[in-house]
Symmetry: C2
Subunit: 361 residues, 2 copies
């Protein structure tokens, strides 16, 4: 099947680029002795999780129980839910997953740990636990080495939980706009303090799990981190380009859209807006990068309309033309599509159901 | 079933508020002799479209062929696709819908009209057409009364198309921040010119279709508009409140979320972010209105995390607490959920599949 016959908007995955992205990260992790446990939030597709495992990933990461249920289909040796699971109903479903897979949960509260332990006892399963430390991003995670040790001490007492190590999220390296070195030094110092303290208390952390896509290839600069869980790297996106972590040529995912109106001079409308691309922003402005007309500016979007300012596009764009556009944030864009099409050149080689789309619970 | 047992995040619809919203718009349309053809993009659910029809709506509006296929289940007397349909495959699917429903398409180009006419001939159906005029919003629509008459003249020549009238979108009344009166006067003048010109050319427009939720109850101030197609009014949202068109008490949709982390002082995280609320903005800032703690500020979101600044919340918010939050933009939020729960008080009275979720094509 050729791309021409696809109805638009359609989410295209350039297989050559994707495979290069997957291999590069796998090689890097191997070269530096890092456990790679990719976050599947980006592709949401068991077949692609399977490719990550085949290339040496030690397991998979998800955020939600519903994603864990889907990703269990890829038969991962280890499944990390990098999100606290609260509430009996979800915990029971997670216990169901734990019957067939080795499940670990990252959490930052005793309440979450107790809930896990109680459900593990009720359902006769076991859960691994990573205690989450806020290494400066300001989202989840306990705030100090002392708090971390306090939490780990309590986790260690709870039945049917395996304390496996710590997790953190280094998202602030890019979000503060720092050049990386200073942020890496601060994270390294925070980890040293936390890990030494745990060690001194007789509770050493076997796993030190961090790593996001923007910082992926700097991971070896944080000596005690031994696991990375990037997600976006499989496809990359305009925001990844913005952080300097990849080039446009490394973006595997694009959205094929059709020009549906040229009635207003200097502007064309394409048949995808916030329902297709998501309304996630990008530091450099705009809502996507038009591969087929890089000087067109994706200035605005409504639910079903994407607005391109084509005054400086340097080419004619006509009604009915089909344009490929790289989204700002590929994870939220993928979540809006029921299907992804794997392409090479102009040929559609395969298609995948986005099986974990909209798994909110 | 009580709300307590729902897994979060969950999309709740307050049935009393929704029914009041539906009835108010239906009564208004009736009182002013306006055809009400609600846009179903907000609820995406045939059962709710059915309620709109039962209250007197003359038909339904959709944006996509896939939505038309879903909404045909509600058996609308008239189905308006308020979006040009380009491409053989989609046109063929739309012809399938036209076999059982009276289908009209709004468009602003001869290319779109020709495609419709050719498919109508091939599939032995007929389509209605509304010619779209840009009445100042700057999105789709031809730019002048002369262009409009030129387009209508060509439409009238094409086999198997019924020219039914004109469509426009008055979204700029709120988007320019004007008080309304000046914008209404300009729209009225643009319509007068366009409609008089069509009349003089012997091509009178029977339907003059406009109307969005923010301007809903000003519709009678635009004398020649005889059809309105608001969508958001069924639920309303924080952006509708922002325009002054409703109060918080008129917002029927909220998202029930659980507090999953309180590790960072002054901040709590809830289990919904851009994948749950969408990242659509609101003029007054923030990503939602916390019904249970109106002075908490929804400052930021990532895919799965909503950040509430609770320093001024005036109440204690604890780990595991469940909070109801009104989204900025309910249409994009609904599109992210597979299920909506209709509630009265603390009771879940019904649930609906969001059948037209993610119908991008």
């Amino acid at each position: 099947m050729r791309i021409d016959v696809l109805e638009t908007p359609a989410l295209l995955i350039d297989l050559d680029v994707m495979e290069r992205n997957l291999r590069r990260a796998a090689d890097y992790a191997k070269a530096h002795g890092l456990r790679l446990r990719p976050h599947t939030k980006t592709h949401k597709t068991p077949a692609l999780a399977g490719r990550q495992l085949a290339l040496g990933a030690v397991g998979l990461t998800v955020a939600k129980v519903g994603e864990a249920e889907v990703m269990a289909q890829a038969d991962p040796p280890e499944l990390l839910v990098a999100y606290p699971v609260l509430g009996e109903s979800k915990l029971r479903r997670l216990a169901g997953v734990a019957r067939t897979a080795r499940v670990t949960v990252a959490l930052d509260s005793l309440l979450a740990a107790r809930g896990l332990s109680e459900m593990a006892a009720a359902e006769a399963v076991e859960f691994g636990v990573l205690a989450e430390l806020d290494a400066g991003f300001g989202r989840a995670g306990v705030q100090s080495a002392t708090e971390l040790a306090g939490l780990v001490r309590e986790i260690a007492k709870l039945p049917r939980l395996r304390f496996e190590g710590i997790a953190f999220y280094p998202g602030h390296i890019q979000s503060t706009g720092e050049g990386g070195e200073a942020a890496i030094a601060r994270i390294t110092a925070a980890l040293d303090e936390a890990l030494d303290h745990l060690q001194q208390q007789g509770m050493p952390a076997a796993i030190v799990s961090g790593g996001s896509t923007p910082t992926l290839y700097q991971s070896h600069l944080i000596p005690r981190m031994n696991e990375i869980r990037p997600g976006t790297y499989i496809f990359n996106d305009r925001n990844t380009v913005e952080t300097g972590a990849c080039a446009i040529a490394d973006c595997a995912a694009s959205i094929l859209a059709t020009v549906v109106s040229t009635a207003r001079p200097g502007q064309v409308l394409v048949d995808g807006g916030s329902k297709t691309f998501s309304s996630d922003r990008c530091g450099r402005g705009g809502f996507g990068y038009v591969l087929d007309a890089p000087d067109a500016v994706f200035t605005n979007l409504n639910e079903e309309h994407g607005y391109l300012d084509v005054r400086a596009a340097g080419r004619t764009i006509s009604l009915g033309d089909r344009l490929r556009i790289i989204p700002n944030h590929v994870c939220t864009a993928v979540n809006l599509h029921a299907t992804m099409y794997g392409i090479r050149g102009e040929t559609v080689e395969c298609e995948w159901d986005v099986a974990a789309r909209g798994k909110l619970q």
